[in-house]
């Protein structure tokens, strides 16, 4: 019985792996397109693409990082913070995300500083 359950679990995992890979591939296409349009200054379109990417693959840290940058550029600092924090939760050791987040925090702190 235990062996049968293990075999079943293995089969499920094997079946799910290509699905996850597909999701990442689809999300990656959205992320790449988002980068292209952001580089041309089309930030709203970039936000749409990166939001799609995070819906398709919620574990894609790069998509959350890019989304955070776009929110920051649009002045939506609370959404930017949430997206950076999600990206760091997914990839806590990513130095590039950490650097972006530190720079964001400097600006965010400046806006909230001394308001008591």
């Amino acid at each position: 019985m235990r062996i049968a359950a293990s075999v079943f679990a293995l089969l499920v995992a094997l079946a799910a792996a290509p699905l996850a890979a597909d999701a990442r591939n689809d999300a990656k296409k959205q992320v790449e397109f988002g980068i292209t349009v952001a580089q041309r200054g089309l930030w709203r379109e970039a936000i749409y693409r990166w939001e799609r990417a995070t819906q398709i693959d919620p574990t894609y840290a790069a998509a959350h990082n890019n989304l955070a940058i776009a929110y920051e550029h649009e002045g939506d600092l609370s959404k930017a913070r949430a997206a950076y924090e999600k990206a760091l939760e997914l990839e806590p050791g990513n130095a590039l995300i950490k650097q972006n987040y530190e720079l964001f925090k400097e600006i965010n702190d400046r806006t909230t500083r001394q308001t008591r």
Partner: protein
Amino acid sequence: MIARRVRLVSSVAAVVLATACTNSFEIPIETPIRPKLDVGAFQRVLVAGFIAGGSEDVDGNLETTRLLRSQLRSKSELRVIDSDVLPLMDVATEGRNADSGGAQAAAPAPIKEQKDLEAYEHVFANVEYWKRIGEEYQQPLIVTGTVMFTPLQRNQIVQQEREVYDSFGRRRVVPVRTYMERKGFSLDGRFIFIDGRSGATLHSESFGEQILYNANQTTPALSSYFELMDRLIPSFLSTLSSQKIKGTRILLQ
């Protein structure tokens, strides 16, 4: 602040390494910072004056009023009203005497410490007074508040660099921690923004900055005052007008 800089520098080094192995793209961004206060209803601003105290070398009321007016003239879309600086300490004292029956007309006591300000702060809540000032100047946004510029003296451990020579005559610079006396100033207070139409307070913002120098260094009080105000001005301006902060970020694939 220094710790944050050190962290940033070390993370930049890590980033250089990481960039080499990741698909990443540097992109310039401009973060718009919305003003903390919606001043759309006002065309004019009156920096009325401040309840000021502390060092006698700097007139905190006059200098703060002058500095804020000149900053607003160049960095805000509001028209700055030129008028005499209001003697708010006298106004507060008169108000208090009137409340207590108006028997004695006591002169305002000098403000030496933060707690001395409490005796005057009621003037900011005097809606009728500010409404009258507002009517006089065609209902502008009114900026007022408190300013305490006080001398500071502290003994603290300071890290300095010292040259040393080894037995071969080679020069080295080593950090040395010494306990020394330092002197400087602190600037504390509050900016208060009042609606000239109703006399009501719209927003208030406290601040506090310090600067310390080696005890043997002579720095005029006025230049320290401007150095400290320089740090506060961006936050003050961001209350009234939007700003864009330029920077770069790394997009990831």
